[in-house]
Symmetry: C2
Amino acid sequence: MIKNDLFLRALKGETVERPPVWMMRQAGRYLPDFMKLKEKYDFFTRCRTPELATEITVMPIHQVGTDAAILFSDILVVPQAMNIEVQMKDGIGPWLPNPVRTQTAVDQVIVPNIEETLGYVLDAVKMTKEALNDEVPLIGFAGSPWTILCYAVQGQGSKNFDKAKEFCFTNPVAAHTLLQKITDTTIAYLKAKVAAGVDAVQVFDSWGGMLSPVDYQEFSWKYIQQIIDALKDETPVIAFGKGCWFALQEMAKSGASALGVDWTCSARNARYLTGGNITLQGNFDPSRLLSPPAEIKKMVTQMINEFGKDRYIANLGHGILPNIPVDNAKAFVEAVKEYRG
Amino acid sequence: MIKNDLFLRALKGETVERPPVWMMRQAGRYLPDFMKLKEKYDFFTRCRTPELATEITVMPIHQVGTDAAILFSDILVVPQAMNIEVQMKDGIGPWLPNPVRTQTAVDQVIVPNIEETLGYVLDAVKMTKEALNDEVPLIGFAGSPWTILCYAVQGQGSKNFDKAKEFCFTNPVAAHTLLQKITDTTIAYLKAKVAAGVDAVQVFDSWGGMLSPVDYQEFSWKYIQQIIDALKDETPVIAFGKGCWFALQEMAKSGASALGVDWTCSARNARYLTGGNITLQGNFDPSRLLSPPAEIKKMVTQMINEFGKDRYIANLGHGILPNIPVDNAKAFVEAVKEYRG
């Protein structure tokens, strides 16, 4: 039904003529047309207005030519729906005026009705599916429970999320209660997105790499595993943990259809750690898109050679940076499309 | 000659009754007596006054009981000596008002005479050696050339040092010129420290983990290797790269006496990647020092069991955090001292 189904076939592990390609945060700040919308509408207005979310989601498909769309939204709409106030401040980023740092604060966090609180996302999914007209698949996403906890407790971005870790290490009972509430909400949220039409989902564990392997199992992975268990029979699930190379072996046994890899983990290490049979996604250093286009193309070809053409989805190792020239992003995508193994 | 030579014996790979223990940034902000000095003297006054540097360096030996001292100083005294202005701003950290971002700016960076520019560090080494009275060894340190470049180009701390990476990827010739100047300065600086009396040196590559394995070799490791080559016949060298698990195999062949490991790399992975024969140092998560002392002690015992008692130096996986209770730091050190394998 979907005309360009390379992405879905790679998720199934099928043999493909070339790998599919998309870029994390592809619907974003490096695109001049996005910046025009950004001047007119604030962050959460863009997220909450299905027409805007649709326009932004479809933008990179037409302008850069990726093989999959990812719904424009933010991982922090989930804590917002859970009764945690989230603002987006220029120059600072996420700002949560009332961080969750006590059992009492955790008790006030709710597991919301998704239709009531996040219906605007579901509307955006439906509208985007129509706009895409079955050209390419649509990905829905959510943050991992640990990554959401990081923001909920820290109250803003951080180099080391020290307050979030302090909360987990000094008040593990409250931390686990919060993580379970986030997990329950996320499962309901992703199931609703699938029902609304997304073709796959990705869980972003942006801050899993702050934890030791033992703490990662306890505070992050076991909740991601719950999400995979709940979703995997309905849709392909991609699990991406930045800096989580140490957990790849465990992640490969999870039932996820694919695993995201960042640029510090070589293709060889990633294939070795995951046993060679699961689809991998990544791992171009987003800063390397600042190299000249000819150099980008050479590096992309080498990346595909190392991962192999099959069971592979070309992507960056983290979100695209705002200062990337559109031509460089195009060179990245074109290099994948021109690949002849 | 040094009464407690556990640290030096571990660096030589000798069999020891228990592992030695020290903590990165042990002479610092978690100690109330340090905070009193901090109120009276600004950051670089503390670095530049040998009496103060000595007092601060010796403090954790008496108050926490570590098996080695590390000279109180900062990695940014090196760029300062190289004609790059460095300020330390409260609440911001390092602040370089004139970041080095062009070939012209690189040309203005000098390889200084160490005695003239950093003589105060050498005086502090001599004074500290006297104050230590051969109780424990003294470690000297420097930042890796890549890590120094990160600050020199970015101009301040950063989550991803995007401007530093942009500089390397768009102007590699200028970047390599700067890296070589930093390397030449660092070699002369560490040799002068050895001549002044330090018993070992550590190179801190705090931001090596921002790079892909290929870029790490090009922009970081090859310069650290130069430093090791130049120093290893004069003193034991410890190389610590935060997030640099992917380079451990290469690092193990470098001639370094020991390698630092952060908490995301398990003892098992670190031993496997380094071939099992080199001394390893680390890797307790600094945030885990917020756990109750009894729990800390249990985790320390397990850490030593996993690394093994020999060819091992107990330490944190990065610097101690300012909000750690002194009793928790003591519990960490005591647990190592009480270890019976």
